[in-house]
Symmetry: D2
Subunit: 119 residues, 4 copies
């Protein structure tokens, strides 16, 4: 995976909202709703497909574009939330991965998908 | 916003899944469900708050950690989907922003939140 | 609120799926995805509205129809899930309300929206 | 499927909210968020299961109770939204089913899961 120029992307997204005077709609509450709506639209692409079909969906160029557009929408709203909550995104991810590693020890979690509360 | 080391993060996330033999659960369909579940958990933090309260929620250290953990979970599943669909994430975002700019011309969209189909 | 003829509605919904040979797509997993997608589409109507505006949205006839259509879609998929899991829906609701009454005692929950785990 | 006494259920749900002075939190916007959160919690039960496993999940008594509790929560918030938008629920469902019948003619939709816009 290539890296991405996050500050540049965030600047484009921010400017887009400001030019349209949309910042007034972008409370963290509303952005979290938009994030879930876009996640659901991504999921809708796969809802009647088998798991195998979902793994191959991106091989169809038309579906690939749909998937990319919805992933981009999710990413865009996520960046807006990050920007409005003074978050160090990389640190937040590393912290959460550390918690996951502790909640799901390899010997207990290996090969099963139970929630940590049921391990 | 600082940039993030996306290839490093993705490597950590991938290794975490492989060590637990969880790759078999991670079809694109299932990952899109997990993405929506995590988005909803982020949204749940704000569901009974006013918009103003949601904008200040991260000032409470306990809530800040909850927000960061849920944003991280969304990000992690999004990266998994990106990794499984041969996507150039930065290009996907730039393409989608270009479509948004065309769908929402500044003069029509300024200050209103109507969907482009209603503009 | 008027009551509804649930067995009649369920029969219509079931026949609709059978005539289209859609039962094969309607695993409980897939139906739970469709339920969330439809809930999100309902939520999308309100995402950029203030709470006050959301309370008055149904006074606009065009929005009222949109709200009714999305509520109906949620209801339809919920009925499908009920039909496939041998559930006594009324009893399930009464059981859950009893749990809610115990989790949220009036004297502690009154006027605040904290989750029961924080009460 | 047995019918349910909808007016009785709605009365119980309404009284529960009033006794806790929660009506002030229950704008249609917030209720639509809660509806999606609960739908997602239902979906979470099935996210790592195969479709076959999801169809048999309710045979496990512990999972059956979890499914029933989450279906009940979705139903409860849906009823709250119906109650706040002056909706005739049965008529709304019948209207939407009529639209579905027209959007998905049997001869075109039979055995395939394409969205009506792609038929």
């Amino acid at each position: 995976m290539k890296t991405i120029d996050l500050p540049k992307i965030q600047q484009i997204v921010k400017q887009f909202a400001e030019e349209r005077d949309w910042d007034k709609f972008h409370s963290v509450k509303n952005l979290s709703m938009a994030l879930t709506v876009e996640s659901s639209e991504l999921m809708e692409i796969f809802q009647w497909l088998t798991e195998d079909e979902s793994n191959r969906a991106h091989l169809d160029p038309k579906l690939k574009t749909k998937i990319e557009d919805e992933v981009a929408d999710v990413f865009i709203y996520l960046l807006r939330i990050v920007g409005k909550t003074d978050m160090d995104l990389e640190q937040a991810i590393l912290n959460k991965m550390q918690k996951n590693i502790e909640k799901y020890p390899v010997d207990k979690a290996r090969g099963n998908s139970k929630k940590y509360t049921d391990l």
